[in-house]
């Protein structure tokens, strides 16, 4: 497959505050190939968000480098789309205005791009809601709107930080199906951070397990599931699912105990 699209090399991150210093990450190394969907699981507070922020170029690591497409990350880049833990749709903007936020900021709101966003909204069932305000949408629709906002600037890599944690369990399952489907259709590379093992396995081609703080990669699992339809909900019934779950559970437990 050649050179990985994203290379994380020996990343360390130290935070300083009057109370003291916290080593959040210590020597994280990870490769993500083009088109891969990789989940990163880890106990709460182990530095998952920090890792995503570093890959997104929002935060500079204390040590180590991240390269994307062979170039070291030195700031935010239009190759990367970042989705925070909460959907952060702007309440006063309509779905349409929310979807074009990134293009507006980047001054790239051309007729061609507008058409692209229109087609995204149409393809993923939000076109009729383009003039609705976020509070009129269901949890799942909000998440789709947030995803389309990220896709609008056409990034190669999507970074999802516990993107579904604000949703109730059932919505969460449906939305992870929808999001996975969209990401596959749009041929994006994705890194999903979560502390939900089942979610991590069901959505991804690979699961990386982080240790307790300071976060380090403990193991990387290639996920191969035999199921008729490769959707996150259906995949949970695959015979191998349980084995992956138990293995990862153990890896997390050793260091959380």
């Amino acid at each position: 497959m050649g050179v990985p699209l994203v290379q994380v090399r020996d990343i360390a991150m130290k935070y300083h505050s009057p109370e003291g210093e916290i080593l959040a990450l210590d020597g994280v190394t990870l490769d993500v190939d083009k088109g891969d969907f990789i989940s990163v699981v880890g106990p709460s507070g182990c530095g998952k968000s920090t890792l995503l922020n570093i890959i997104a170029g929002l935060v500079r690591p204390t040590r180590g480098v991240v390269t994307i497409d062979g170039r070291p990350v030195e700031g935010v880049s239009s190759l990367v789309g970042y989705m925070p833990q909460t959907d952060q749709l702007f309440e006063w903007r309509t779905v349409w205005k929310n979807a074009i936020l990134g293009l507006e900021v980047q001054n790239k709101l051309t007729a061609e791009k507008k058409e692209f966003v229109q087609s995204l909204l149409a393809r993923y069932g939000l076109w009729e809601f383009r003039n609705a305000f976020p509070r009129q949408l269901s949890g799942g629709m909000r998440q789709r709107a947030a995803l389309i906002r990220t896709l609008a600037t056409d990034p190669q890599i999507l970074l999802l930080d516990e993107a579904f944690s604000a949703l109730d369990y059932q919505t969460r399952l449906v939305v992870s199906d929808e999001v996975k489907d969209i990401i596959v259709q749009e041929r994006k590379t994705a890194i999903l951070v979560t502390h939900d093992i089942a979610e991590a396995i069901s959505m991804a081609d690979k699961v990386a397990v982080l240790t307790r703080r300071p976060g380090r990669i403990k193991a990387v699992h290639d996920i191969v599931l035999t199921c008729a339809e490769r959707t996150p909900i259906k995949c949970r019934e695959a015979p191998e699912f349980r084995d992956y779950f138990n293995a990862i559970w153990k890896e997390l437990d050793i260091h959380a105990g």
Partner: protein
């Protein structure tokens, strides 16, 4: 209404009927209370239960209003006071918001100024009246500055803390699109704070009335505050009562106007 008339159960219809009856009764009681009070006042004054020289009386107030109107004075005084108040709270809100933006932009400055703002906020701004008169003179400008001062510090503190409540994820999202600090301000911070600014506006309306009336008490040759003070000095209680009543009506109307403005600006919340 979600339920169509035909589909409505008799109990629900009875419930709605009793609800309407209750509302009607309350409205009627309100009007009756006002009429009764005015009647009691008028009759009491005529029969000598109270001294109309000190308490004034409704018929006297109506006469005073008619006289003022005939002389063309009524709307001049109302106009002056309303003008000073509107300009005062608008400027107070705008200036307060602008200063909050400056403090947001330079966080260090905000830290430095924090204790000063806290002290200024607890200071009764009215006590600055004499200083303002010395510095600015005794015209409308001094009164407007008074109204502005009463509201500006509260606005700075309220709006600034509104800015600080914008979710850090929201700022991170914008930064991930490559947004500059100015874009973050214009796209997220300011529009997100419109509800805070409007609720500051609501408080400022009330505060500005206080500033304006006190200002008119101190200086000025026109306005409702001036009328009230003048009426008191020459012992024309009709004039005092008239200005207080007009003031009450004007203040209530202005408050409603701001509430309407609030609805207009926060349509996305409904």
């Amino acid at each position: 209404m979600q339920v169509k008339d035909a589909a409505m159960s008799p109990e629900h219809r009875a419930y709605l009927r009793s609800l309407r009856r209750k509302r009607r009764n309350i409205a009627a009681a309100r009007v009756l209370l006002l009429v009764a009070l005015l009647l009691l006042w008028e009759v009491g004054a005529n029969l000598g239960w109270v001294n109309p020289f000190i308490t004034s009386q409704p018929s006297g107030i109506v006469r005073t209003i008619a006289n003022l109107y005939r002389d063309g004075e009524l709307f001049r005084h109302i106009g002056v006071t309303v003008y000073e108040t509107v300009v005062g709270f608008t400027l107070g809100t705008l200036l307060g918001t602008a200063i909050a933006v400056v403090l947001w932009w330079w966080e260090g400055l905000a830290k430095v100024l924090e204790p000063y703002l806290v002290v200024l906020n607890s200071l009764p701004k009215i006590s600055l009246g004499p200083i303002i008169i010395v510095w600015i003179g005794s015209g409308s400008a001094a009164i407007i500055v008074m109204a502005l001062l009463v509201s500006v510090v509260v606005t700075i503190l309220g709006v600034y803390s509104g800015f600080a409540q914008v979710h850090p994820d929201r700022i991170k999202l914008l930064r991930s699109f490559g947004a500059s600090k100015g874009q973050i301000l214009l796209k997220a911070i300011l529009p997100g704070s419109i509800p805070t600014v409007v609720s500051a506006l609501k408080i400022n309306v009330g505060l500005s009335w206080v500033g304006v009336i006190v200002g008119e008490f101190l200086v000025s040759k026109a306005g409702l505050g001036y009328l009230a003070v003048y009426g008191g000095q020459v012992f024309r209680l009709n004039l005092v009562m008239t200005s207080v009543i007009i003031l009450a009506i004007a203040a209530a109307l202005m408050y409603q106007a701001v509430v309407f403005l609030e609805k207009l600006f926060t349509r996305w919340q409904q």
